[in-house]
């Protein structure tokens, strides 16, 4: 941790320990599955074992007669309610709207991927439910249809269809920016050099530590429903269940996301199991609970990535970029998950200029339905795919032209005097200093000493390489006016309510949701700093729609940059009202009242009231300007920012390759990030560590493999390789290069996704560099995960 940060013990910038960790680490967290209710029943989902099939018959009689079975649901029960909608409308290049098949609560007519839920059993016990679910599976006739797995084949097949009404299995064919296409083609036609790479961005399974779980309750006395669920954004789930799927009035449904054990995107979305437990609770008049088994998580959580991309870079012989052009096939799986259509388009195509002053960019994305689990946003969501394509092709171009990878990036960087800068793919970068993070990472990594480290490796028969990635992302996912133009069907502001209690302590209800990030600590730090009160007097409340204002949850590195700012705006209102109260109590003019370090004072005098005295007066208004001011001290603010935020940075990976086995070892990983202002450096470091760990997992280990019949071959930890502690190095993280965000008052940009965005190309670039330095110069690229057998095959290929 940089020295400047170590010194602080409280307030903004202090590396305070996470208050929530005490309960998490001592087993006192309350997760959905920990909640036990009187009269509860158990739902067990029956899932398709084939990738594609027509449901001929579901004979429920035998299962229904089994001991403990209370109800059976099939797709028939939900065929008249709404589908789970896609959150963004994307238009094809020809102006047609995307194809949007209904995503039912339970599959009806057809099953479309292994793991597709088509029935459910509700029973007195889990064991009884599971036995009956097995019986129901045995009593179901499904006519198996040919599975549609390969994306390019799917898009070329006019007859075999995932959804009968969608020919060629295409959701949309999107161009960005279509009007620039001709100009980009012209640049390529006359470019002195063109580098082309074909890349796979491997499909990932999120693997949150806590599997998805939901409990539905119905209260017949009032007609109220309650859904307790593993969600990153309870209000969005409430909106989707209420307005789109079940038609429950929004004010009759409470959604609670209690402690949630990781999401990484997979818990942003509304899933059918949530609607099922609510409908079942109403029918039975008893609570209905469901917790996914790990095997179900593999098969039915929304997966991430899964792009096949051809990227071309046109440049001068000196490495000056002229244009990027990409053609991507993006897999959405069998149904459109809530953010599935925006992830490969606006979260990907708008980043295809990187941190570079490239004048021309054109992006084409064909998004395809297949008989696989739905694919949606996963930590980074579109931006890792963009960064991987850019940073790989830039390295390849340097190799082809014999240019230095550091200098080529430096030559093409936007410079600090160019901001605000409008990119050719439609974003306006507000600020940045990419040279600074590059210089920093070179210093951190001791690049000058690399040659001696390489020689030491070579003496052991190992190949050592350096891989650079200079990344940028757009996060603080919000501006409603922008996302609306881009097809969003919701707004993406956030909200906070600050309630100063009569005794002076403070409850802050936030729309953001913490599922491991540490909001309870950081939001309290920021509020304490603003109010001049101790952190311990502040409680952060999140995750319960009956307590918090209407916010949009946490994803896209948006919590502090959007909800945190809403909180500071509510605090500003509290301070403004406090000044009015103080002015009355101190018999001074409001304009003369100052607020500092938790005290309201009359400027230039020793007359002052503490924050606690003002709070007490607001709730016991005996000496109070009741004629002009309401009692109480509680304020709400909504905040909708003017722009995305643009964190950026430079990552350097140093890797060793064992040419005999193909095994890659990450020897060092250096991160120089610009996150703008940093609220809690310890938490920022933790976020970077986790993100880089996931990026190394994607680069070296994680492979989601379906066979040609659509069976998931990597459906357990026996075959799906998650990164372990021994697979990753001690990270070297720096965030001292700071260009604060210019359009939010905290100057924060967001750090949650950075590691997962910036790291995969750094790892792969390091491996390719090591192989080239080792004389294996025929190797242009190795697809992720860069597994031992792939590296060995490339060397010996």
């Amino acid at each position: 941790m940089p020295k400047d940060f170590e010194a602080k013990t409280t307030g903004i910038g202090a590396p305070m320990k996470r208050r929530e960790d005490i309960r998490f680490l001592t087993g006192r967290g309350v997760y959905t599955d920990d909640i036990k209710l009187a009269g509860q029943t158990y739902a067990v989902i029956v899932r398709s074992q084939v990738a594609h099939g027509r449901i001929k018959a579901i004979r429920t009689e035998a299962a229904a007669a089994m001991e403990g079975v209370l109800a059976i649901f099939t797709g028939e029960d939900f065929k008249d309610v709404g589908g789970n909608p896609a959150g963004w409308l994307i238009k094809s290049r020809n102006g047609e709207p995307m194809r949007e098949p209904k995503r039912p609560v339970l599959a009806h007519g057809k099953v479309r991927h292994v793991g597709d839920a088509y029935a459910a059993v509700i029973a007195e016990t889990y064991e009884q439910g599971r036995a009956a679910a097995q019986q129901l599976a045995d009593d179901t006739d499904i006519e198996e249809l040919p599975a549609i797995i390969d994306m390019k084949a799917a898009a070329a097949d006019a007859t075999n269809r995932v959804h009968d009404e969608i020919p060629d299995n295409l959701c949309y064919d999107w161009g960005w920016i279509e009007d620039n296409r001709a100009a980009v083609e012209e640049v390529f036609a006359r470019a002195p050099h063109v580098t082309t790479l074909e890349l796979v961005n491997n499909r990932l399974i999120p693997n949150a530590m806590e599997p998805r779980a939901s409990i539905g309750e119905y209260f017949p006395g009032t007609g109220d429903y309650k859904l307790t669920t593993t969600s990153q954004n309870p209000h969005l789930t409430r909106l989707l269940v209420a307005a789109f799927v079940l038609g429950i009035p929004e004010n009759k449904l409470t959604v609670v996301a209690p402690d949630v054990g990781g999401g990484f995107g997979s818990k942003i979305y509304h899933y059918g199991e949530e609607a099922l437990v609510l409908a079942a609770a109403k029918r039975l008049g008893r609570p209905v609970r469901w917790t996914a088994e790990r095997s179900e998580s593999f098969l039915s959580d929304a997966h991430g990535r899964d792009h096949v991309t051809k990227i071309e870079l046109a440049c001068e012989k000196d490495g000056t970029f002229l244009a990027f052009r990409t053609e991507t096939f993006a897999n959405v799986g069998a149904y459109l998950s809530n953010f599935a259509t925006v992830t490969p388009t606006f979260l990907h195509g708008t980043l295809m200029a990187g941190p570079y002053k490239v004048p021309h960019v054109y992006v084409n994305v064909k998004t395809v339905f297949t008989n696989t689990a739905p694919v949606d946003a996963y930590r980074g969501a579109g931006r890792p795919e963009a960064t991987f394509s850019l940073e790989r092709v830039v390295d390849q171009m340097c190799r082809e032209l014999g240019l230095d990878a550091f200098e080529v990036r430096r030559k093409n960087f936007l410079t600090p005097d160019m901001f605000p800068y409008t990119t050719p793919v439609g974003l306006v970068y507000d600020t940045g200093n990419y040279q600074a993070t590059l210089d920093k990472v070179i210093e951190m990594a001791d690049v000058a000493g690399f040659e001696s480290r390489r020689a030491a490796s070579a003496a052991k028969g190992l190949l050592r390489g350096l891989g650079l990635s200079t990344w940028i992302e757009a996060c603080g996912i919000a501006p409603s006016h922008l996302v609306g133009i881009l097809g969003a069907r919701v707004g993406l502001y956030d909200a906070a309510t600050v309630r100063v209690n009569a005794t002076g302590n403070i409850s802050i209800m936030v729309g953001a949701h913490s599922h491991g990030q540490g909001h309870e600590t950081v939001f309290a730090q920021v509020a304490a700093d603003r109010l001049g009160v101790p952190e311990s007097s502040i409680e952060i409340v999140h995750g319960d729609t009956s307590k918090i204002p209407f916010g949009m949850g946490s994803y896209g590195s948006r919590s502090l940059a959007v909800c945190g700012v809403a909180m500071t705006k509510a605090i500003d209102k509290i301070i403004a009202k406090g000044k009015k109260i103080a002015a009355h109590m101190l018999e001074a003019s409001e304009a003369d009242i100052t607020f500092e370090a938790g005290k309201f004072a009359v400027a230039g005098t020793d007359k002052a009231k503490t924050f606690g005295e003002i709070a007490f007066s607001a709730y016991v208004p005996h000496n109070y300007p009741l004629e002009t001011l309401e009692p109480g001290l509680e304020e709400t603010a909504f905040y909708d920012p003017a722009n995305f935020t643009y964190p950026a940075g430079a990552y350097l990976c140093e890797a060793e390759v064992d040419p005999e086995t193909g095994k890659v070892t990450i020897e060092a990983f250096h991160c120089a990030d610009d996150f703008g202002n940093v609220m809690n450096p310890m938490i920022v470091e933790g976020q970077v560590h986790g993100g880089v760990g996931q990026g190394i997992g994607q680069a070296l280990l994680e492979s989601t493999t379906y066979d040609e019949t659509g069976q998931l071959l990597t459906g357990s930890y026996m075959d799906y390789a998650m990164p372990r502690a021994s697979d990753v190095p001690f990270y070297n993280v720096d965030y001292s290069c700071q260009t604060p965000c210019t359009h939010n008052p905290l100057g924060v940009k967001g750090c949650g996704e950075a590691g997962a965005i910036g790291s995969p190309p750094a790892v792969v670039n390091a491996v390719i560099d090591a192989l080239h330095r080792g004389g294996h110069t025929h190797i242009k690229h190795i697809d992720m995960p860069v597994s031992p057998q792939r590296v060995w095959a490339a060397i010996n290929g």
Partner: protein
């Protein structure tokens, strides 16, 4: 997982009797069986735990032979003294939780083609002792998940003649950490035995070309570059037969270097 009855006998005789009941299955650590039961791939009516039988536990060394009770967990073998090559193998199986529960007898009775122990048993020419007889290692392993054990036969101990030099070199499957290819090399005077696990569709096997080369010159260089036929080797997500064939020679050389 289906419901089942659980018995924990105190003697081999009681265990044999319990295993005679319908649907009974021996349990000795359960690091494979319990997982299979959780996935409903196995549903025994009765589990007969062998880990409560004192006679099946413990490690002893006498007359150049290490004897290991069949119900001895890997963690205990890992800290035993007298046969460092075997202790090192045991200390690298799975993770600490697996090593606390899993036993040598359970591993050998299951004979997973990617388990570590079979390579040491075969390379050392160890003796598998059961409640009925003694089985030589060369006769014991009969293919993937197949052994010479008969119904109702329980492994009671394994006797390893301690080699003069030995080591195990494992290349881990990235997800499961089982051996993608693991090689145990054992040297007894002029005689060298090399056993390979994780690589073959027939389970653990002796690499005789490697043995010949090492008997001529006990040096990693003797096997480096020696070609191994990929015929009959496992093809899966994590390694082609050609890749595994390469690993047989590479890991043998590394085992020799470490021995």
């Amino acid at each position: 997982m289906q419901n089942f009855d659980f018995v924990k006998p105190a003697s081999v005789a009681e265990a044999v009797a319990a295993l005679g009941t319908s649907g009974a299955q021996a349990l000795s650590g359960g690091q494979t069986l319990i997982g299979s039961m959780k996935q409903n791939l196995a549903a025994p009516a009765v589990l007969v735990s062998l880990t409560g039988i004192a006679a099946l536990k413990g490690v002893s060394v006498s007359g150049g032979v290490m004897s290991i009770g069949a119900a001895t967990p890997h963690a205990e073998v890992a800290k035993a003294s007298g046969f460092p090559g075997l202790s090192s193998l045991a200390g690298g199986i799975g993770d600490p939780a697996v090593r606390a529960r899993g036993t040598i007898g359970g591993s050998l009775a299951n004979n997973d083609p990617a388990a570590c122990y079979p390579s040491a048993v075969l390379a050392c020419g160890a003796t598998v002792v059961t409640n009925r007889r003694e089985i030589a290692a060369d006769d014991y392993f009969q293919g993937m998940f197949t052994t010479a054990l008969e119904d109702g036969e329980i492994i009671t101990a394994v006797r390893f003649p301690i080699p003069e030099r030995a080591a195990y070199a494992k290349f881990e499957q990235p997800a499961s950490r089982f051996s993608l290819t693991g090689v145990f090399v054992a040297k007894y005077g002029a005689k060298v035995r090399v056993a390979v696990t994780g690589a073959s569709n027939d389970g653990v096997f002796r690499w005789t070309d490697g043995e010949d080369a090492l008997q001529a010159s006990y040096d990693p260089a003797a096997v480096k570059g020696l070609k191994v036929s990929p015929d009959g080797l496992i093809a899966d997500l994590h390694g082609t037969p050609a890749y595994r064939a390469n690993l047989v020679a590479v890991m043998t050389a590394r085992a020799v270097a470490a021995s």
